[in-house]
Symmetry: C2
Subunit: 579 residues, 2 copies
């Protein structure tokens, strides 16, 4: 019996399976660094002290941290499949993540969540789930899935599902919307993650009293302080877009350490490869003056305790033998990683994963578009002359948008893009139910001189979104995304100049991280032929449909005034923007 | 629906049921003290900020703490029934305890635990249970109950049972004894309390790797430091006998705060009435220089988190409206107490408990003694002349014992007590199964000039224990305890001078705390007729049978050499001490 064997090893009656010697243990329980042999039995730590084993590894003074935990991440945002994501992050010392499969759930519904659950089973890291609570994000987006309380209920019986994912629709929670309350009640006191950007005062109290006890959207110290007081655990987020560490770190004091965790939320493959994952947050926190043991605590025992993962988070007997071994603590430089007693990363290589053993079957294709023709991208003018249209203003590295008005002269009965004034046309083609919905509008900020770009990644409904200077290139780009079953492409003069296929739900690649990163580099080089001025035009494009943030957005249903939370006409007074 | 109503209250759309205004909130989450109205809806906190309610209470600057939690207590040691214990401690701000019904389980087995569970249902405090793991304490004690893994299993389905109580038999755990391992395994990752006095090194690792994650037996800083490093949460105990705060407090640092809790373990009715309960520990910690908010944290959110009681432990929306309102924070002076939104203690009075609603049926009588006669207390000499006998040395305020040897001259074929040399006879009469077992020996330290005292409280098997200067008074005392169905008595020259009935399992009284305290005072006054020199002779008497601590102990089976953990003869070489 495993327990008997482990006790025998701890008591010194039989040799350990493996002993790590000469390590410096980063102890997040006693908040100190100390020496000690670590004796393992099976997947657990048996004892710490003086031990001999069947096998002994000399750590030569390296630091032994508990494996890092990302408290909140949407794996889809890496554009990698779960096993490939796992391989990238385990090399950075991450051994567990708590993920909300919110993106794939918007595309595939419950089937998407099941796919993520099954594809996470043969990974070098533990992938825990929160049941996606906000699908779709709003009634103005035609998503591929809709998850009501009854749809989420079965997932809460899965031992890898820890609770309910971020309740993004905080308006509904505060209003006491019955469907939202049903979701809260079905969790039966399990953890519920929050998403409450800028929420304060009574509204915040209403959100917290509903049982929502984390937030990863704090951007200011004052906001985080209020949430901390009200009992929320604060996830300090450093992702690709949103980076809140500098703002929030001053709030983290020794006696409130246990109320904070680190999270990445959304981080793309390139940032993961170049910066790292949770290790990057630790590194940055330490560089800002945080005690390294405290920083490691936020990345290990704190999320483990919050989510009830009692076997993780610390180097101590009885817990899983899951370690990030560091060459350098301040720099958080990962030398090797043990997961449940097995070496899974060393010498720059991820070792012996089980992924070859069994692979989940592929998802069905997710791109289900009603037959489209070039004329579907035409915006008909209501007559001759000039017309004022609403224009979305896109900005580098922001997920919100501005808005403006532009005057366009009708030409052949239509309103065209005008590259000279940096006015592109924007189209959103519904791609889940083949409804034929196409939303049309204008966008400024890409700076394209010609051509079009298209993407099947477009938060949160992930319909096809196409920005271009002419209808034909937009048409070709849209059709090409359908052909490659989702992804990104660049088109100019009817020719596809570059592509990145993302066949898993139109969100994720099937290739490894390095290959994907290479594909993305080639894509961005191809996009230079369009003379765009944004550094990351596809990232910008992917947020133009998110109807819950920014001033003006376009979904397949048409133009959304986000402030008024209603559909508006494309013409300032005139015909509707949608067809 | 309660959740909807609470959200409405928090959002300010409807008035709170009750608002506490002008309080200073002791916030154990943000580790600060701040202002704020506390709005309640039903049994929960809806919001903190600015609120109006159906009813408003002005706290006039008083401190609002979360209700205190005793992380580990044997309620039986108070000698009060659960409802009476609850009334005493709620007046000291305690609103929840985690109890191990270890004493009654030793007397009544599973029936005793069920009785405690049912009698805790109509109390002004929450009584959570840990399933008693060590009944009996050793094979040398004839207890009234024996709880094996299969006996404990049903209790773990009870929502008020949080896990497995202290694994006192640490020798068995470390040895990998199958029955102990079965108990550990059946908890299925729920909390398991530890009891590991002085355990260190590999043995301690073996104990921890078995899944045991708390300890309340630390007496030195070094001992606690090692346990902390290995992942144990440290319960700092201040009870009637064992007081460890002074020794351990220096280990509690701001960044390790979350690894400590306060507990009383065993505290009798008089100490509860005069000193207080958890409030007394807070008061002492603050007097020793601890930050008061930190001290309150060890008494509230820390045990709540450890035991997964997410609704308790903090003043924050969504949690139960359970508060200790203090006049003075440093002195921890309790003005009033709210439990789940209701005022349960104010103006020195415990208010509106439910105890009248329904009382559990009484336990069967627990004193089941084989017919005894005066001659059962005789110690026969093996012949004429003088004999060396082992003597238990009893000490004030200690539960361990010393040992010595005394030479006694046979008189009429028997060995008698010798008050001139402070040599009493000691008898332990089995009282559960009417087996007729009587253990006999000698004890020094009581200093009685005549008479006898008897008790049915004798750890852990709680057999009858009688110390006296002559066989007849010992006989009368033993018979009197049977007559009063358990308790304490004092006898001199065949007359009962004083008694305290403890009819609930021979451990607990049915009267209220003040009455019991009065009875105990009268008892101790009566005992003065015996000229004893111990301040608390009954406390000393009650530990003379505990076979797992001290040097020499007496059980109904005979004299125990605790170091060798074996039965020995009463005569240094000669006839056995038992009959």
């Amino acid at each position: 019996m495993e327990l008997k064997k482990r006790i025998d090893v701890a008591a010194g009656r039989r040799p350990a399976d493996l002993v790590l010697k000469n390590g410096r243990i980063v102890n997040v329980l006693s908040c100190e660094i100390h020496a000690g042999d670590i004796a393992m039995s099976g997947d657990r730590i048996a004892g710490i002290g003086q031990y001999e084993g069947e096998e002994t590894v000399d750590l030569a003074g390296r630091y032994v941290c508990p494996g890092f935990i990302d408290a909140h991440v949407h794996i889809e945002s890496s554009m990698l499949s779960v096993p490939e994501f796992a391989k990238v992050v385990v090399a950075h010392g991450t051994t567990a993540v708590i993920t909300d499969p919110h993106e794939i759930a918007n595309v595939m519904g419950a089937e998407g969540i099941r796919f993520m659950l099954s594809s996470s089973k043969y990974c070098p890291i533990y992938v825990y789930f929160m049941a996606s609570a906000s699908v779709p994000a709003s009634e103005f987006e035609s998503a591929g899935g809709e998850l009501r309380a009854l749809d989420l209920h079965p997932f809460l019986s899965d031992r890898w599902v820890l609770g309910l994912a971020e309740m993004m629709n905080y308006h509904d929670v505060i209003a006491g919307d019955p469907e939202s309350l049903d979701k809260l009640l079905l969790t039966d006191d399990r953890p519920i993650d929050g998403h409450a950007p800028g929420l304060t005062g009574r509204d915040l109290c209403a959100y917290v009293t509903a049982g929502i006890h984390t937030d990863h959207e704090c951007t200011t110290l004052e906001e985080a302080r209020e949430k901390l007081r009200l009992g929320m655990s604060i996830m300090i987020r450093e992702g690709s877009q949103a980076r809140n560490l500098d703002a929030l770190l001053p709030l983290v004091q020794p006696d409130t350490l246990d109320r904070f965790m680190f999270a990445t939320d959304d981080k793309d493959v390139d940032d993961l490869l170049t910066e790292g994952h949770v290790d990057h947050i630790i590194r940055r926190a330490v560089a800002s003056g945080m005690n390294p043991v405290h920083a490691v605590k936020l990345a290990t025992i704190n999320p483990a305790r919050h989510f009830g993962l009692d076997h993780l988070g610390a180097v101590a007997p009885h817990r899983l033998a899951t370690f990030a071994i560091l060459d350098d603590l301040e720099q958080c430089r990962v030398d090797r990683v043990y997961q449940a007693g097995r070496l899974v990363y060393a010498d720059g290589q991820v070792l012996e994963t089980d992924e070859g053993v069994r692979r989940p079957k592929m998802l069905r294709g997710s791109i289900n578009v009603h037959w489209i023709e070039p004329e579907h991208f035409a915006i008909n003018a209501p007559g001759e002359g000039e017309f004022d249209v609403h224009v979305i203003e896109v900005m580098e590295d922001r997920i919100d948008t501005g808005r403006s008005i532009a005057r366009i002269r009708a030409d052949g009965g239509q309103l065209h893009a005008d590259p000279k004034r940096d006015l592109c046309k924007l189209a959103v083609v519904e791609r889940h139910m083949a409804s034929g919905n196409v939303g049309l509008g204008f966008v400024r900020g890409f700076g394209f001189s010609g051509g079009a770009i298209a993407s099947s990644v477009s938060h949160d409904a992930h319909n096809l979104v196409i920005a271009g200077t002419n209808d034909h290139d937009m048409y070709v780009a849209a059709v090409h995304i359908v052909k490659i079953r989702g992804g990104f492409c660049v088109v100019k003069q009817g020719q596809v100049l570059g592509e990145v296929p993302l066949p898993i739900a139109g969100l994720m690649s099937t290739v490894d991280a390095q290959t994907l990163s290479g594909q993305l580099r080639v894509l961005h080089e191809a996009a230079q032929a369009l003379d765009g001025k944004l550094r990351r035009p596809f990232m910008a494009l992917s947020f133009l449909s998110l109807s819950v943030i920014g001033e003006l957005k376009l979904t397949d249903q048409g133009l959304i005034d986000v402030g008024k939370f209603e559909l508006i006409d494309l013409l300032v007074s005139g015909a509707p923007g949608g067809m």
